[in-house]
């Protein structure tokens, strides 16, 4: 039986091997698609820093473009930290302020939109820019969503969850931290409170109502190991937190299965004809 005190150990990775495997993933994807490299949105947070570092190792820094895409309310330190990460990795950066695009839409059409809608719009604006820059450079968009936020649905659909390839999507948040430390990314980036930085003072854990480390452990037990919510609670986790995580996971499944096509023909894309990509 897996006990609560064992879970954190089970989530530890052989960092060296994981780095090798994930770098080879990026290298293989670029080679197989015949593209020139990757573009990545560098937010100043640990996820995008790790993804950028893996890409720089996989491809060489000159085949990676890091885009800093601040909105006028984004924390100044986010941009500074992003720049520091890029400088450490010798990756080229480009900064594009998304304020004019966002403000044009809301000021002229939707003046009373709440923060969440504005935040979603920003995430999708960044996605649009990343794919445009990728097209311009014949590159792939590197995704930065980790397993915890994908399972919790803590992302904007077709926004930050959109990418060509995602090296981090099977890493829980604490595994991201572990690999970021292993790759010697700047301490303040690894240790800062995770935030989508969609409005001042926002933190992921504040919004979610539980700590990432707890979410990782609960999700690992339910999703990876197949325990029921009741069996997780029996191991000493808070009932309300487990229930909330279970609900988030269930309610956000739609975000992980894109392109829901109505089947008419008996030869529907993805259902009747599963054509793999290499």
């Amino acid at each position: 039986m897996i006990r609560k005190e064992d879970v954190r150990d089970r989530l530890r990775l052989n960092a060296e091997l994981a780095e090798r495997v994930l770098s080879s993933f990026i290298k293989d994807a670029v080679q197989t698609t015949g593209t020139e490299g990757v573009v990545v949105g560098l937010s100043g947070g640990v996820d995008s820093a790790l993804a950028t570092a893996l890409a720089a190792r996989a491809l060489g820094p000159d085949r990676v473009l890091a885009l800093l895409l601040p909105y006028r309310t984004s924390a100044a330190e986010s941009t500074e930290d992003g720049r520091e990460v890029a400088a450490q990795l010798a990756v080229e950066t480009r900064t594009i302020d998304i304020s004019p695009m966002i403000d044009a839409y809301f000021d002229e059409n939707e003046t009373d939109a709440e923060q969440l809608r504005r935040g979603n719009k920003m995430a999708r604006e960044r996605m649009g820019i990343l794919f445009d820059q990728a097209k311009k450079r014949r590159a792939l968009v590197l995704g930065t969503s980790n397993k915890t936020e994908i399972l919790l649905g803590y992302s904007t659909i077709f926004g930050d969850n959109a990418s060509s390839i995602n090296p981090l999507g099977d890493l829980y948040k604490q595994q991201v931290w572990q690999l970021a430390e292993h790759l010697s990314l700047p301490k303040q980036v690894v240790e800062k409170k995770p935030s989508a930085d969609l409005w001042p003072g926002q933190t992921d854990e504040g919004e979610l109502g539980f700590a990432y480390r707890t979410a990782d452990e609960v999700l690992y037990l339910m999703f990876d190991r197949g325990l029921s919510a009741g069996e997780v609670v029996e191991r000493g986790y808070d009932t309300d937190v487990v229930t909330r995580i279970e609900q988030l996971e269930r309610n956000n499944r739609f975000k992980r299965r894109l392109m829901l096509i109505a089947r008419l023909s008996g030869s529907a894309i993805n259902l009747d004809r599963e054509i793999p990509r290499d």
Binding site: R12, L13, L17, A18, V21, A29, I275, P276, D278
Partner: protein, 272 residues
């Protein structure tokens, strides 16, 4: 089969669904193996097609007796024995996950995968028919494909029928944990080593590398001598040609001391 064999394991990647590209790669590795003096060269499971084919399976199927690709491989192999993996279509239109042993201009042996994993990320039972025949090749080379090895009576059956080398070709996806090696590799080595131990035979494990739809293949191909010691191991993740010298008589010398295979009884009542 000579008693001293120079074995080559071609631990390679495959282009998914691209027979022509994979054929060219095979020809290149056969040439490299020839330069290294290889007598028996082993490619991974579905080496000519890639593994995760899903609805592409039928599109890359070959009828080996009437296949331009097989003819070109036979010509390239020459005197070398070569094991390749492909999608085989029979006369009834059933598809098999098949290994061919090519030797001296002929298909010397065909093994159709007997156990088709259809669970977790594996979907073989949806696209392939299961083989229903097991025997070693005429010279005592036994061939199994991946999941077959997880059913230990097959390797024992091959040993009883005279196999002294069991070749296992594989497309085994990897996963990691805290350990020094991929967790999937630990399972495979437990299996190949115990197979060589209880059947007192050589075990040759050839796994592929590369990525398909976000899943990587571990590599880590290796050769286990009779009794269970790993004598050669290929690196993880990288394409490589692993060379090993196999002394087939080692099997006999061990069996003189340790008659496990010959002691197998088929007259025990109760569980089957």
């Amino acid at each position: 089969m000579s008693t001293q064999i120079t074995l080559g394991i071609a631990q390679i990647d495959a282009r998914l669904g691209d027979l022509a590209a994979n054929l060219e790669r095979h020809l290149g590795w056969i040439e490299r193996a020839r330069e290294s003096g290889v007598d028996l060269l082993v490619f991974p499971e579905l080496s000519l097609t890639g593994y995760r084919l899903l609805h592409l399976t039928g599109k890359v199927a070959e009828r080996p007796d009437d296949s331009e690709i097989v003819s070109r491989l036979l010509a390239a192999a020459g005197k070398m024995s070569v094991v390749v993996g492909l999608v085989e279509e029979d006369r009834k239109g059933v598809l098999y996950n098949t290994a061919l042993l090519l030797r001296a201009g002929k298909i010397a042996h065909t093994h159709r995968k007997l156990y088709l994993p259809t669970y977790g990320i594996f979907q073989e039972g949806r696209f392939f028919g299961p083989g229903n025949h097991l025997a070693p090749a005429a010279d005592g080379l036994g061939i199994l494909i991946c999941e077959d090895l997880w059913h230990p009576h097959l390797a024992r059956g091959l040993a009883l029928a005279g196999a002294k080398i069991v070749v296992v070709i594989s497309a085994s996806p990897g996963h990691l944990g805290p350990g020094e090696t991929p967790e999937s590799q630990d399972s495979w080595e437990a299996l190949t080593r115990s197979t060589a131990l209880v059947n007192t035979c050589w075990v040759v494990y050839c796994n592929r590398v590369g990525w398909e739809e976000g899943s990587f293949y571990t590599g880590g191909s290796h050769v286990v001598r009779p009794g269970g010691e790993i004598v050669e191991r290929a690196p993880f993740l990288d394409e490589t040609l692993l060379i090993a010298e196999i002394d087939v008589r080692e099997v006999d010398r061990l069996r003189w001391r340790l008659p496990l295979v010959h002691a197998t009884r088929s007259d025990i009542e109760g569980v089957q």
